[in-house]
Point group: C2
Chain length 426, copies 2
């Protein structure tokens, strides 16, 4: 029976039972982790032959005589730029392939705009007092971390099932030229797994920000990361921006971190010619060239974009059961008692749960004490401050299925226990 | 006969002969490059088995259960930190291993100090008007590029055979707290191949800069890169700084770019605990982790530091004849006519030549027109401005020995021709 309809006595009884259950779980000495979006080892094994495609006999020289073992080719090797062009659905001329981390490329891009204006006539952001950045919430803690590092005021923008609140965004950016950008994970958003609707993408493309140097940080981290047979589709923002004359608005990012190896993948960014000019001008001083051998490794491993899509089906086969375990357990344990709301994503790496208001921190603490590590409560909000203390991000990919089931059981016990503590003012 | 002792008529005759020689060379349609310090393909081949040490059957998990294919271990894997600790002669706890580029780590480090104070109570450098950086000249253009990007005023400090002018440095830093650092290549300096004397290192360690956040960017790029059988030795600056209580003064950098593959090596930095704390605080926001698989590849390839030293002997065997070609040709062609001064380095990647004052640009232009590309004249000075227009950096590593001999012949013709043009006011 839903807690909301229970008598005080019934709640006390439920609490006593759950408390026992919790102590049992605690006694098991578990050591499980659902904190970060890390692929599991079975997923990593899918890419092991990435380590076989290059050996000492390999030909590492391209048709222009460029030896990939040596210095050179700042923008990354052409075949790899083409591959990421296909992935991001943009012309490869607008793509730069970098090191192993798209987060690093985002950090570099913000760092660049901090010290050099991306738009002629504008101030570098470091000189803009009260600079602000829009942060769809719940969102990705490491995005917020970058703008935190650079002392932006971060304005939370609520997410709905179609993406961030576009009414709010349009209104905010129209008048305030100290708002310099927004963090977006447009497909299978972190943590909710929401894909922006066509209308949302069109409204982004049609934005008329007061700040000429306003930029959309379009982190397409999960662009081909489906986990069901009914995948979402995302409208191509670059094409939409061409229609509105807003080509310079978005800067796109992606990587193979969750396609091949998180520790040894390849990342890329794409942007308009004008944006690329400013960004490359910084990279020219920053580095001679990134690891072209690892780019070559990825090209040889995938063959082409279709090969990459085929590879993703293997990830899906591993991840679907994990997402099923999470969603089935939530359904079975939390629906009857009427506690919690969660998303049912078609892709990405997370399930986002809103537990009873004011209990998220307590749930994370209870889980930790029972040996199940979750992402810190509040991590999905700028500066780690979730005003309702309700959102928790579940990362189901790293544990084995068996461990995941155990961890989810513990999690649901903790969600209910924390709710009852609150209802009973314990 | 030395040009200085020639009559006008003799000079005219020499000019006519050289002009003919030059036109001959020009007619050959050469396409040679001595511009950058790029290893030649024979050198790259030495490391081809780096591509064999990891394959799909490799065990990539350390004793703590850390899977090197996955996210994690921001400071780099311990074995690799130990290897770079040996290379830089510092405790590995003070070492961070990064991506493939030490230049990038230097850029990151300066970028860090631009926005966050490295020393409590100091301003971030971005807020320091008239910020300045000391630049030993001739020096490395990409170092100067970083401080140029961040709008430092760059103060040239002349090099002598024992290192930069320490009298000048001591005097400058003692009174001016807007001088925030100095670029150093302490062993086999770029471009002269000079190794700082013990006294120079001790004086660096004993500096008392007015700016508490003054830092020595100690780029030990050529620490084990000997090219003769009489290698130089460099005093350990970290040990010297311990004696003077100046542990926070130096930040050390190095990489395997010129040990394995420039495009796919591993870079590292080392610094005091206090410096590392500030630097890592930035990296924590910037990236989750660098490419641990490539670190593992390097560990497996070298085994240990002794293995790395053995490997360097193979480089030396390839490079010694190249340096001999350069030095022998200069000796043979330029000594008789009394034009030019140059260094005879025991290691590193360059030979630095001072041609007749006011002719360096002309020499580079003449070479270019004859199909031999050199580093731009002036590149070894901040903002590319060599006040005497005399320094040229020769990079002998990339061409084959035969090509190098041809290129050096052309070079010497051009040096003499430019000198004669000047003497004859042509």
């Amino acid at each position: 029976m839903s807690y909301i309809n229970c008598s005080a006595q019934e709640l006390e009884q439920a609490y006593a039972e759950l408390k026992n259950q919790y102590e049992d779980e605690k006694g098991k000495g578990l050591n499980l982790n659902m904190a970060r979006g890390k692929p599991g080892s079975e997923q990593l094994d899918l890419s092991n032959s990435l380590l076989d495609v290059l050996n000492s006999q390999s030909h590492c020289i391209d048709s222009n005589g460029q030896d990939f073992r040596n210095y050179g080719v700042l923008e990354g090797i052409e075949e790899c730029r083409r591959l990421f062009g296909d992935l991001l659905q943009v012309d490869y001329h607008n793509v730069m392939v970098g090191g192993n981390s798209s987060l690093n490329m985002m950090f570099d891009t913000i760092s660049c705009m901090m010290v050099k204006p991306i738009e002629e006539g504008c101030e570098p952001w470091y000189k803009v007092k009260n600079r602000k950045f829009l942060c769809p919430v719940p969102g990705y803690d490491r995005h917020f971390g970058i703008t935190q590092y650079y002392n932006f005021e971060m304005i939370p923008v609520p997410m709905s099932s179609t993406g961030p609140d576009m009414d709010m965004i349009e209104e905010l950016v129209a008048y305030d030229d100290t708002i310099k950008g927004i963090w977006c994970v447009p497909k299978y958003s972190n943590p909710q797994g929401i894909t922006y609707s066509d209308e949302t993408v069109r409204r982004f493309a049609a934005l008329k920000p007061a700040a000429k140097d306003f930029r959309i940080m379009w982190d397409n981290a999960y662009c081909i990361h489906d986990v069901t047979d009914t995948p979402d589709t995302l409208l191509n923002i670059v094409e939409e921006c061409k229609k509105t004359g807003n080509e310079d608005l978005p800067i796109l990012f992606c990587s193979t971190s969750k396609i091949t190896f998180p520790g040894a993948g390849v990342a890329a960014l794409a942007a308009s010619e004008k944006n690329m000019k400013v960004i490359l001008e910084r990279y020219k001083y920053q580095i001679i060239s990134y690891d072209k051998m690892n780019m070559l490794r990825h090209i040889k491993f995938f063959g082409n974009y279709e090969g990459m899509l085929e590879h993703m089906k293997k990830h899906k086969a591993i991840l679907k059961p994990k997402f099923d375990i999470v969603l089935d357990t939530l359904e079975k344990e939390l629906v009857p008692v009427g506690v919690g709301n969660w998303t049912k994503p078609n892709g990405g790496y997370f399930v986002s749960i809103d537990v009873m208001n004011g209990t998220a921190k307590r749930v994370v603490q209870l889980c930790k004490e029972a040996g199940v590590v979750l992402t810190n409560a509040g991590a999905t909000y700028p500066l780690g401050k979730d005003p309702k203390d309700s959102n928790i991000r579940i990362a189901p990919t790293f544990p084995s299925n068996e461990e995941l089931q155990t961890a989810m059981n513990v999690f649901c016990v903790c969600v209910k226990l924390a709710a009852l503590e609150k209802l009973l003012s314990k």
